[in-house]
């Protein structure tokens, strides 16, 4: 058992940290990401790919600390993992080069985060499929060249790659609370041919479920970064902020609150790693994967809410101000908390995935598979 980073991992961590610490507001840094090779994390070797969930964690944690507003999770992790598992190397290559952008459209009204709740249909017409339905809160939809859309093919769900400018698609873009590019999509009889199938017919849900777990783990890493920075900012602020002639950080009630925030950050750190490890070592065990990742998101949601709310509280009025950073971290944390499934959704998913997993079952690894015994 060993938590030390390899030289390569240290290299990424530091370069991302440098970027995140700098000025990255507004303008799109995608080409730079491609150059730095960050878009190749998790890609196969033949595409110059390297690393996996751990490297993604190291990157996203720093993105969180720097409040980097980037489509990285939606592009490289969510779309990337779908394309990789579906072995669509030619598409993945363009993603890695940064020449093509993807948007995964899986959620539907009333689906409440569930990728299986799909009403959109893909009806076969000879060699082609015709897609009709509505997708909501699609990340990066307005910048994407290609949409990856889930649709019902009979009882099962399949994925299709569709040019964003294809006829009969209407996009209603809007900005989420924290300024991310989101859109609702309407498909009215969109024609695609069988070559546009991503993965085998009917494998859509499995592909999505797996890729969503990768993306959720990445969000947990971002949440960790957001939280750890909020804690540091709060500690710093309470040390310099004077009240009644002393720094407010000298008040025991606030000290204990910050100690509790620290504990939550450490638990969040643990589950972020747990999720990444699970993806690494339980890639072939979907039950353990779901359990590990959902557990992580549940803890992240709980810890993030506690840390965020108290960061605001301990900053006082200034924490409420748009001009001061902690408020923006709190808002992003609130979104990360619910993106791809909030605590309620994931605790239900966790319970459902318990299945046979016995508490203290003899031969589990320390990673993933909550309710397991170290082995």
């Amino acid at each position: 058992m060993d938590f030390t980073l390899s030289p390569e991992q240290l290299l990424i961590k530091d370069s991302v940290a440098r970027f995140a610490a700098g000025d990255h507001a507004g303008t799109e840094k995608w080409p730079q990401f491609a150059e730095l090779g960050w878009l190749a994390i998790g890609a196969p070797d033949e595409l110059g790919g390297f690393g996996g969930p751990i490297e993604t964690l190291l990157l996203m944690e720093q993105f969180g600390r720097g409040l980097v507003r980037s489509p990285y999770v939606a592009q490289v992790v969510l779309a990337g993992q779908i394309l990789r598992a579906a072995e669509r190397t030619e598409l993945l290559e363009r993603l890695v080069e940064g020449t093509e952008r993807f948007a995964v459209a899986y959620e539907e009204p009333q689906a409440r985060y569930d990728p299986a709740a799909v009403k959109t249909t893909a009806v076969r017409e000879g060699e082609a499929f015709v897609l009709t339905g509505t997708k909501v809160r699609v990340l990066d939809a307005s910048t994407a060249n290609t949409l990856i859309v889930s649709a019902r093919t009979g009882d099962e769900i399949s994925l299709f790659a569709i040019p964003a400018n294809a006829p009969n698609i209407t996009r209603e873009p809007y900005a989420s609370e924290d300024g991310y590019d989101v859109a609702n999509l309407r498909l009215d009889g969109v024609r695609v041919d069988a070559a546009q199938l991503i993965g085998p017919l009917g494998d859509g849900l499995a592909l999505l479920d797996r890729a969503l777990d990768h993306a959720t783990a990445a969000l947990c890493a971002e949440g960790l970064g957001l939280m750890s920075l909020m804690l540091e900012a709060t500690v710093e602020y309470t040390k310099q902020r004077q009240q009644f002639g002393v720094p407010i950080g000298s008040f025991q009630a606030l000290q204990h609150r910050m100690a509790e925030m620290f504990i939550e950050v450490e638990l969040a750190r643990s589950v972020a790693y747990m999720a990444a490890m699970t993806l690494d070592e339980k890639a072939d065990d979907p039950v353990a994967r779901r359990r590990g990742v959902s557990a992580a998101k549940v803890q992240m949601a709980k810890s993030g809410r506690f840390v965020g709310q108290n960061a605001i509280q301990l900053h006082g009025g200034i924490g409420m101000s748009e001009e001061y950073k902690v408020g923006h971290y709190f808002k992003r944390m609130t979104m990360v908390e619910r993106l791809l499934g909030d605590g309620q959704y994931h605790v239900a998913r966790y319970i459902a995935s318990r299945g046979a997993a016995v508490t203290a079952a003899p031969d589990r690894d320390p990673v993933g598979a909550s309710g397991s015994r170290a082995s």
């Binding site: 985060y113 509280q313 009025g317 409420m320 408020g327």
Partner: protein, 371 residues
């Protein structure tokens, strides 16, 4: 022991309820039901209507236009305002500066300011918090130099609600820089149109723009605008804060939130026993708090001065408001971002302002438990 309202109180409640139902402009009610931001004119129109009915100056002496209500009637009135989707009466003139002018001001000041405060012809804002201060009010650094029969005021005040609408601001300023902390502070009324007064909006994380910073740069104010004695402004400030802190727990507002929440859940046809239980827990706590408020009102009516017990109402009232805004967020899950997140963000402030909940707990520990 009798906990039902008296027939008179019930009659009063019905009277207020009917009046609001028949006199509140429909466009204003719609705005509030939709959760839209109100503009100055909305507040002004509504205050004018209540003023003509003689229902604005609760807590003022009758001879100065006060309503002559007891604590329970006052409570009933504000509850009905909330239930009737009516705008609140902005407190900065009516319930902050006015009581101070009444208690510490001179007759000229009473004659000059009170009528226009009551009618809503002049809007006020508060000028006590400062960037440096916060819960530790007395550590303010705004200066007011006596120069003959004027004061020269320099400083910055912050977290000021509705300053962009205000005609007047009441300012706590240091008139004796050598005196220690609480001493050497004076309570001065400043016309917002005076040269050197600038208002800068502070955008809050929920996108709101009602909070402002007010800069006072070489602002010249006649000494006649001093309320009470020079260097004794802290007495006014303490008096004013007591007033503010004996505020209501916002029970009615919470009940409205709860009602909206139940409607949302019915509308989205969400069926989740875990959520039902969390809501029921908050609902029960709200009822317990409502009853607690009634107990303190009964005590007040029996002549007891509102005391530190009001800290319970502040702490629990704001905790419940925040819990309800979280529940709404959780109930709607993915559909919440757009319209409910801002409310959730906005409500974080309730545990910070008007004496943070930590300060309130200090008050309970020191003044009730004598720790």
């Amino acid at each position: 022991m009798d906990l039902a309202f008296s027939p008179e109180d019930r009659a009063f409640r019905d009277e207020v309820r009917d009046f609001i139902a028949t006199h509140l402009p429909a466009d204003i009610r719609r705005k509030i039901q939709a959760g839209d931001h109100l503009v100055k004119d909305d507040y002004a129109r509504w205050q004018r209507i209540l003023f003509e009915r003689g229902w604005v100056a609760s807590g003022w002496p009758k001879e100065l236009g006060g309503t002559g209500w007891g604590p329970i009637q006052r409570h009933i009135f504000y509850e009905e305002i909330a239930y009737g989707w009516a705008p609140r009466l902005l407190p900065f003139g009516l319930h902050m500066v006015a009581p101070v002018i009444i208690e510490f001001g001179n007759d000229a000041q009473r004659a000059r300011y009170l009528p226009k405060i009551a009618s809503g012809e002049e809007f006020w804002c508060q000028g006590y918090s400062e960037p440096g201060a916060g819960s530790d009010l007395a550590s303010l650094s705004t200066r007011a130099e006596r120069q003959g029969d004027t004061y020269l005021i320099n400083g910055t005040k912050t977290w000021i609600t509705a300053a962009q609408w205000a005609d007047w601001i009441f300012v706590l300023a240091r008139t004796d820089p050598n005196a220690k902390k609480q001493e050497g502070i004076s309570f001065i009324l400043v016309d917002m149109k005076t040269p050197g007064v600038t208002v800068r909006p502070i955008e809050t994380i929920d996108g709101g723009k009602e909070i402002n910073e007010v800069h006072l740069e070489n602002v010249v104010v006649p000494v006649a605008n001093l309320v009470g004695k020079e260097n004794e402004g802290w007495t006014c400030a303490k008096f004013l804060l007591e007033h503010e802190r004996t505020g209501t727990a916002g029970i009615a507002g919470c009940r409205q939130q709860l009602e909206t929440l139940h409607e949302l859940i019915a509308h989205e046809s969400i069926d989740d026993p875990r959520l039902d239980e969390r809501i029921a827990q908050v609902e029960i706590e709200l009822e317990a708090l409502a009853f607690t408020e009634l107990r303190t009102l009964a005590a007040e009516s029996a002549g007891k001065r509102p005391g530190p017990e009001s800290s319970i109402l502040k702490i629990k009232g704001t905790e419940i408001q925040q819990a309800l805004s979280e529940l709404a967020l959780d109930a709607l899950g993915p559909y919440a971002e757009s319209h409910l997140a801002p409310k959730y963000f906005n409500y974080r402030k309730t545990s910070i302002y008007a004496g943070s909940n930590e300060i309130q707990k200090n008050i309970i520990a020191k003044r009730i438990l004598k720790l």
